[in-house]
Point group: C2
Chain length 287, copies 2
């Protein structure tokens, strides 16, 4: 099975599970649920839940034990995008090729839809029946992880960051959820400690790699293919890897990081090939 086929199949599994996750809430306000679903079903690569399902399958041969947690992870990612797009934050009118939540439903509904998705994510996470999984979610999404990174990102706007500072921003903002996705998938697959350790290490590098290529795509990418505007980083003088290292330097760093990510899986067998392929593919991605 090719990498693309594998990822698409996992993505289909995630989207099927997501479609049913918001159906059983008859006592919730219908319009709020509509706003939540609008952002949740807007698509995207579903990278985090796909990684979670793949890690679970690597650990136990099936992705089934991680399906619910994968939905929870996508809910957390989606809430963060809704709040990030708000006028007081990044002020983005478009997301995944459609009007962002606050453009579609108004700011107040967007704030509440984000709050509701975060809360529902913890409900779904707790339904997995594992407290260690709930703790992973809360730690990765909180002040030591994603929200902390978002704050640092915002605070760094207009400032010149060092490479170390930039990596610290992204270790939180994107890295924490990507690493947690792999860890939670491994935990739910009852992975051996050395597998959990290898996937954690791989996750940190994959998160870095993902961010470098995200920054590169903002320079060389195609808006239609990406489903979002490009060139924004340069216009807003945002600290990025290409801005710090040049485009070639950033691409070289991406390739070196991909190699390190593959190395992190050294002790795992061919069952980890899909993760190796993914890391090797990312420096050349176009969306």
């Amino acid at each position: 099975m090719t990498l693309k086929h594998f990822l698409n199949e996992k993505k289909r599994r995630v989207e099927e599970a997501l479609a049913t996750s918001l159906q059983n809430n008859p006592s919730a306000p219908a319009e709020l649920v509509t706003a939540m679903r609008y952002s949740l079903e807007a698509g995207g690569k579903r990278l985090r839940p796909v990684l979670m399902l793949s890690a679970c399958e690597l650990a136990c041969g099936s992705d089934e034990p991680a399906l619910q947690a994968a939905c929870a992870m996508e809910m957390i990612h989606t809430y963060s995008l809704i709040h990030d797009d708000l006028p007081a934050m990044d002020n983005d009118d478009f997301r995944r090729g459609r009007p962002s939540s606050h453009k579609q439903f108004g700011e107040a509904t967007a704030i509440l839809a984000g709050d509701a998705l975060l809360t529902l994510a913890f409900f779904e996470a707790a339904r997995c029946g594992r407290l260690d999984v709930v703790l992973e979610f809360a730690d990765a999404a909180g002040i030591n992880g994603m929200v902390g990174g978002q704050y640092r990102d915002m605070e760094g706007e207009g400032k010149t960051l060092t490479l170390d500072e930039l990596q610290r921003v992204h270790a939180g903002k994107t890295g924490a959820l990507i690493t947690a996705s792999l860890r939670i998938g491994a935990l739910l697959g009852n992975a051996a400690p050395e597998v959990l350790h290898a996937l954690t290490h791989y996750g940190r590098l994959l998160g870095l790699l993902f961010q470098i290529t995200d920054d590169v795509l903002d320079v060389v990418g195609d808006a239609a293919t990406l489903g979002k505007s490009v060139g924004k980083d340069a216009r807003t003088k945002k600290a990025t890897y290409p801005a710090l290292l040049g485009l070639d330097g950033a691409l070289a760093m991406a390739r070196a990081t991909a190699d390190r990510a593959v190395d992190a899986l050294h002790d795992l067998g061919p069952e980890a090939d899909i993760f190796r392929e993914l890391a090797r593919h990312l420096p050349d991605r176009n969306q």
Copy 2:
């Protein structure tokens, strides 16, 4: 021990625990933690965590097992106030006698401080070691509870609501967390099913009672004593109990609801007296 003394003692316990809850986060951005602490330490009655500690003590003779969850509950309440005060929501410049979070730190930080408090609440909740407690939190704070009620409240602005519709708004917006506080306290105290049942019923009525008296205080209360502006409901033509029933009608409903709350505790012994006293006291509260 008088009611006031009892509540103050529990409040002191909560505030002591809250003060340490944000101390162990060296890798989080310090300014974001400052914003979280600013709102968390702003005071208030601490009604929800106090109810939780009291319910736990009623069930098992000690409030200790509920201290951590009580902090989590106050974090959720505090996050909801921060987001509720935002310009796109209620647009309140003051909260508990001080500038609201977005006036003090800016809108973006206020949004993230709220997100961070909600996330940290689930971390603390999970550390209690009970999945049923995490589920109670997520259900009460989400679309079927608080966030759902906040959405309905916002949606109902400028409309004439029936008494039923108004009660539905508040059953979510204030009732859900108040009821969950009592339930979680009881669960952590390993309460017998009939005690949990009685406290759940009491909690729903107490939440209603609390909201009626909150609306009444907006008409007859003193801004300095309350630490917030008064008369806002009338200015914004908000649906309230006094607006629907008149001031005397609202006070009569408060007293009848207090009686019903006391009745809900019928099968409990003198260990529940503090809850009876609280219900009887609420119609006459001045803050």
